[in-house]
């Protein structure tokens, strides 16, 4: 796994209404196998930053290095999971979706199917390899998306609010599952969310961003032992601290928008 350096990254959106700052002078480092959550209110540039790391957007200034190599465009050292369930290819089965990246890499059919089955087992979908996405629930589709992003073995997993469109119970299950997957694979994960409890549950370190323009407001290390208990006093203390940075101190369980 590779460390990531983010150096003075700035991006300005050119809209018909004028220039809108996206992110400004964002800098931080991510260690190998570290789980980073980026939280912040809408418009803080957290998704913009993730899109820059993914290579979908090119920053106006600054640079991002993964394992010392500067990022230009997207590459197979990164796997991306989006929020939208529609990200899966409806014309491919769960297995077919997961093998896609391996197919692009030129891995032989038998081998890529073995790898894909293993990835689907990791997200507990080994019984659904032959199912088409439209027969799977939202949570299952997102699990296929995670397996798909991991299958070609990228060093970094980028996740843009992957569970935001799920119901609360499913979301809890998915967070536990992702924590397990991370423990097994030791990928470097950059996870964007606006849900503070989710960030405290998953992250080694939380980057708090503030809007207009998007800048890093604080970096908070979460030093709780895993698996974490969302009802423990220490957990709630962490949430409170985070909410303090976000300008909220009332109900700690409410997601910040």
């Amino acid at each position: 796994m590779l460390p990531i350096e983010i150096r003075d990254v700035t991006l300005v959106y050119d809209t018909p209404g004028g220039k809108v700052p996206g992110v400004k002078n964002v800098s931080f480092n991510i260690g190998a196998s570290e789980f980073i959550c980026i939280v912040g209110p809408s418009g803080c540039g957290k998704s913009t930053l993730l899109n820059i790391i993914a290579g979908f957007l090119t920053p106006a200034a600054g640079e991002i290095r993964i394992g010392g190599k500067p990022v230009t465009g997207h590459g197979m050292d990164r796997g991306v999971v989006f929020q939208d369930f529609a990200q899966l290819f409806p014309w491919r089965t769960a297995l077919g979706n997961v093998t896609f990246g391996l197919e692009m890499k030129g891995v032989a059919k038998a081998e890529r199917e073995t790898i894909a089955r293993e990835q689907l087992r990791l997200v507990k979908l080994e019984k659904f390899t032959a199912s088409y996405p439209h027969h799977l629930s939202g949570g299952m589709q997102q699990r296929v998306a995670i397996a798909r992003a991991l299958a070609y073995n990228p060093a970094v997993l980028l996740m843009d609010e992957p569970f935001a469109a799920l119901d609360a119970l499913t979301r809890d299950d998915m967070q536990r599952l992702l924590a397990d997957v991370w423990r097994e694979t030791r990928k470097t994960v950059i996870y964007v969310t606006h849900n503070v409890a989710e960030a405290v549950y998953l992250a080694d370190r939380v980057i708090v961003m503030s809007p207009h323009p998007g800048t890093v407001k604080a970096e908070i290390k979460i030093d709780l032992p895993r698996p974490r208990d969302p009802l423990s006093v220490e957990f709630l203390e962490c949430q409170k601290e985070l909410l303090g940075y976000l300008g909220h101190n009332a109900n700690a369980n409410e997601p910040v928008n």
């Binding site: 997207h74 990164r78 989006f82 290819f89 409806p90 798909r148």
Partner: protein, 263 residues
């Protein structure tokens, strides 16, 4: 309900609809208000149909017509799909072809038959080209819309996974646009089928279902005309239900990209 059960039910429903239409026709034919030579009874039409099928003449005519349709339809697919994709992917291609397509599309294919007869003579070439003309535009337009409506997140996801232009095209854009492409093929075949009969009436000699109808008029053989219409309807129905319905069930319906009607 099982898939076979549903299939059987839909066949029964179709049979009921067709039987009702036949009953209405038969009532009119037997009402005595119309000359039997103009409105023959169904039994007469069926006898003629069986006789012309048995002596092979109706089959021979159908084969001619089908040959022209499939040739023209094939050309329409070969031109419509690639051009539609290119128009959707490259602005320059769209800018060049869109005015041309917009100007040509509203011209009815029948209006071109006399001109094509002068250019290409009477027979297969003219009818095939008329079919081709009629069938290309729905194919082209649907493909063009389909490629433009491919969900950008699929392209993005495929790009992340290292897809090059070639894989993007064959493994994402074509399947992603498939609901539209299949709709295009359906509409295109329908237009082809309509155009061929018209073109054969004017520009075909001695063979083809359109020619049969036109020729039968000379001798007031309404039973032959109606028998030919039954064959035209039957072949069209088979293609629609079996060929295009089958393609749809095997692809976009199975993938959940389109849904069958509920209820």
């Amino acid at each position: 309900m099982t898939e076979n059960g549903q299939r059987a039910r839909s066949l029964i429903r179709a049979a009921i609809t067709l039987a009702a239409a036949a009953a209405v026709y038969e009532l009119l034919a037997r009402s005595g208000y119309f000359a039997p030579a103009l409105l023959p009874k169904l039994s007469v039409v069926v006898t003629t149909l069986i006789a012309t099928l048995a002596d092979g003449s109706m089959i021979q005519h159908s084969v001619y017509t089908l040959y022209r349709v499939m040739f023209g339809f094939g050309l329409a697919i070969a031109v419509g799909i690639p051009l539609g994709i290119l128009m959707a992917r490259f602005t320059a291609v769209e800018n060049f072809f869109l005015p041309l397509v917009s100007a040509l599309m509203p011209i009815p294919s029948f209006a071109l038959v006399p001109l094509f007869m002068l250019w290409f003579g009477i027979g297969n070439l003219t009818t095939i080209l008329i079919v081709f003309y009629a069938a290309t535009f729905p194919m082209l337009f649907n493909t063009w819309s389909g490629v433009r409506s491919v969900n950008p997140i699929w392209l993005r996801a495929a790009g992340c996974m290292g897809a090059d232009e070639h894989s993007l095209f064959w493994k994402v854009i074509i399947p992603g646009a498939s609901p539209f492409i299949i709709t295009g093929m359906r509409q295109s075949f329908l237009r082809a089928w309509i155009a061929v009969v018209g073109a054969e009436m004017i520009a075909a000699s001695d063979w083809g279902l359109g020619w049969v109808i036109f020729d039968a008029k000379e001798f007031l053989n309404t039973d032959i005309m109606l028998a030919a219409l039954v064959v035209i309807g039957g072949i069209g129905y088979l293609f629609e239900r079996l060929v295009f319905g089958g393609i749809e069930r095997a692809t976009v319906l199975r993938w959940g990209m389109v849904r069958s009607a509920k209820g």
